[in-house]
């Protein structure tokens, strides 16, 4: 059984300028122990999608009437969007789902020790007898993520740790409640490459150990290639391509995915020209009609692409992309 099923997720923000569509009819599911990479430029809606899983979006967010986020817990399925605010959300937030962020300094309280923050959430979310037990669990967890001198770090504040160490502590804190699903929002973007490599290895180890599912948000396709089992590519709130990591990176089907890969510097061919995706991502207020990518697409068919929203075409086993060109090919074949 899948861990989480997202069906027809649509999310709009009410603003002074009107309704802004941030996520548009997105569906995917995630198996336990699976790492799904969610890729896209800034403004593509990847963070908003991930935050919807815990309903962490601000109050002006309006979910579409057909949107469902079904979380399959041991006690049975739960629709996250139907949970009551406040206490009702506790089984999800910090319970079944944990989240780690890009900037660990911003996500730890600066004036409370790392240890106190870890103990507090353990007491809240996991059936832990007392503070002493919670302390033991926390220190074990800090050791597990490779923090040396864990009992000393337990009593320190976030500012006393280095960037890489902070991100490890963050991961330890997120995993100590034994979540079923971990949302990692650009967890390595602020780190140096050498530290990033360490954190990626750590996360892969932890999936093997704990068997939770991970939604891994990043704009770095190299990081995705190294971590994810499956990839979902987002553009302007729509899922344009999904598939296994090999399918999407080695045989991309959507022009946007191809564009992203071409824009990337490749180490095995230093003299290759870098080809940017032309133009900029449009403002969410000026959402293109038809295929959202048509304004920047180099193979756009013109009017058909500007008027019709493409369906998902079958590219391979478990590999789909939403592009009219693929639909046409399917008709011809």
């Amino acid at each position: 059984m899948s861990l989480i099923d997202v069906e027809n997720l649509t999310l709009q923000f009410r603003t002074d300028e009107g309704l802004i569509t941030a996520v548009d009819d997105v569906s995917f599911s995630l198996e336990p122990g699976e790492i799904m990479g969610l890729v896209g430029e800034s403004g593509s809606g990847k963070s908003v999608t991930a935050k919807s899983l815990m309903r962490l979006n601000p109050d002006n967010a309006v979910y579409g009437p057909k949107s469902r986020i079904i979380l399959n817990l041991d006690s049975g399925p739960v629709d996250v969007l139907k949970l009551r605010p406040g206490r009702g959300m506790q089984i999800v937030r910090g319970g079944a789902i944990s989240m780690i962020f890009q900037e660990p300094m911003a996500s730890f309280a600066p004036a409370i020790t790392i240890g106190d923050q870890m103990v507090e959430q353990l007491l809240l979310h996991r059936k832990v007898a007392n503070e002493k037990e919670a302390t033991t669990i926390s220190i074990e967890m800090l050791e597990r993520v490779g923090i040396s001198d864990a009992s000393k770090r337990f009593g320190q504040y976030a500012f006393e740790l280095s960037g890489g160490m902070r991100q490890r502590a963050m991961i330890a804190m997120a995993l100590s409640t034994r979540p079923k699903l971990l949302i990692a929002d650009e967890p390595t973007t602020a780190l140096d490459v050498t530290i990033q490599a360490q954190v990626i290895d750590l996360m892969k180890d932890l999936v093997a150990d704990f068997g939770m599912g991970i939604v891994f948000i990043t704009h770095d396709l190299g990081v995705i290639a190294q971590t994810a089992d499956r990839v979902a590519v987002m553009y302007l709130g729509r899922l344009v391509e999904t598939g296994t990591v090999r399918q999407v990176i080695k045989t991309p089907a959507h022009p946007y995915t191809k564009g992203l890969l071409n824009a990337l510097p490749k180490l095995d061919n230093l003299s290759a020209e870098l080809t940017p995706v032309p133009g900029d991502i449009p403002s969410p207020l000026e959402r293109p009609s038809g295929c959202v990518f048509n304004t920047r697409c180099s193979v756009s068919l013109g009017t058909p692409c500007q008027t019709r929203i493409p369906d998902y075409s079958y590219v391979g086993e478990g590999h789909e992309a939403a592009c009219l060109l693929l639909e046409e090919e399917a008709v011809k074949a």
Partner: protein, 348 residues
């Protein structure tokens, strides 16, 4: 100190740095020993006219400080840095008054974050015109407008863009505005400090191509500071690698990537996540983190993280040595190990 001999192509040297150090004093007690933070220590390098010179290293390696020292924006505590573009010949450490003003015109800086580096209260036209007005490079408003329009067009900004405020632009467009501002005084030397780090990959390629075009068409020399080796590999002609304030290796780009002469360089190379999902071994990972520059390890500063370290590395600091044409490295055992192979052979 090692003399870096000018060989290879006989381009004129634009910036020549000898044993450069930037030390910041740290607060100490009255009787306690005064500590200094050696942000840059004993760096020697040459930047040829018209090259795209890459400077890489982890955070804390001193690459930004070195870039700023070359712009006389960080105090030089020891050594010399000479700037000679054919018209003027300046000793950067001693610049002041009129000469410093003139140097500001010739050497400019592009910042990392285009969201923080542009004033939200100024129109794009005013942002780009400000250097001209401050440095009094134009005599009339018409002339200013002319220069602004000219450089804006080169950065693919149109007249309509010039009337707007920065908030109306995307990250890539903002960075193009920042580039226009840096280039409006027609500098010959530009320090680009992580100029594409905050941009999406799709936009990053666009800005890199733009900068490369300025090097090709206007002959501008760039010092491109970055932590992203794959970007550096693509855009730079020559690369220098820094670790804890010291230069550990410098070479033409292809040589550095095909045959690194320092274990730190090869570790950085192998840490780049490969785009191939079937290549997940990822070579040898560097353990630990960069030590604090207030208390650098004795001997070779890299020995605490180096998989090849021996006793000599803990005692004696290696000097920068030349291996072949223009390829310098600072490792005692560079000849004994093939770092590329040891690290999984990821390099090109």
């Amino acid at each position: 100190m090692n003399e870096i001999v000018n060989n290879g192509d006989n381009k004129q040297t634009l910036i020549s740095v000898r044993d450069l150090a930037v030390h910041f004093p740290l607060r100490g007690g009255w009787f306690a020993e005064k500590h200094v933070l050696k942000a840059v220590d004993g760096v020697t390098l040459e930047i040829k006219l018209g090259t795209f010179f890459g400077l890489v290293g982890e955070s804390g390696s001193g690459k930004t400080t070195l870039g700023r020292a070359l712009l006389k924006a960080a105090p030089i505590s020891r050594g010399t840095a000479e700037f000679a573009d054919g018209e003027v010949d300046y000793n950067i450490a001693e610049l002041k008054g009129k000469e410093l003003q003139d140097y500001r015109k010739r050497a400019q800086l592009i910042f990392q974050d285009p969201y923080a580096s542009l004033s939200p209260r100024m129109t794009v036209r005013d942002i780009i015109a400000e250097p001209l007005e401050v440095m009094k490079l134009t005599s009339s408003r018409d002339e200013t407008n002319e220069r602004v329009r000219e450089i804006a067009a080169k950065c693919r900004l149109n007249l309509e863009h010039l009337r707007r405020f920065p908030h109306a632009f995307s990250g890539g467009q903002r960075q193009r505005i920042a580039i226009a501002r840096a280039l409006v005084s027609s500098p010959g030397f530009v320090v680009a400090d992580e100029a594409v780090a905050a941009l999406d990959v799709s936009i990053q390629a666009d800005v890199l191509n733009l900068l490369k075009g300025f090097q090709r068409d206007l002959g501008i020399s760039f010092l491109f500071i970055s932590h992203d080796l794959s970007v550096v590999a693509h855009i730079c002609d020559h690369v220098a690698v820094m670790y804890l304030g010291r230069l550990v290796e410098t070479a033409p780009t292809d040589k550095l990537f095909s045959h690194p002469r320092h274990p730190y360089t090869s570790a950085l190379l192998s840490a780049i996540p490969s785009l191939d999902p079937d290549d997940r071994a990822g070579g040898q990972k560097l353990e630990g983190e960069i030590p604090s520059p207030t208390n650098p390890p004795p001997g070779c500063t890299f020995h605490t993280r180096c998989p090849f370290a021996r006793d000599l590395c803990r005692q004696e600091e290696p000097q920068l040595r030349e291996f072949d044409d223009d390829h310098f490295g600072a490792c005692h055992f560079a000849e004994e190990f093939d770092f590329t192979r040891e690290h999984g052979g990821r390099a090109a």
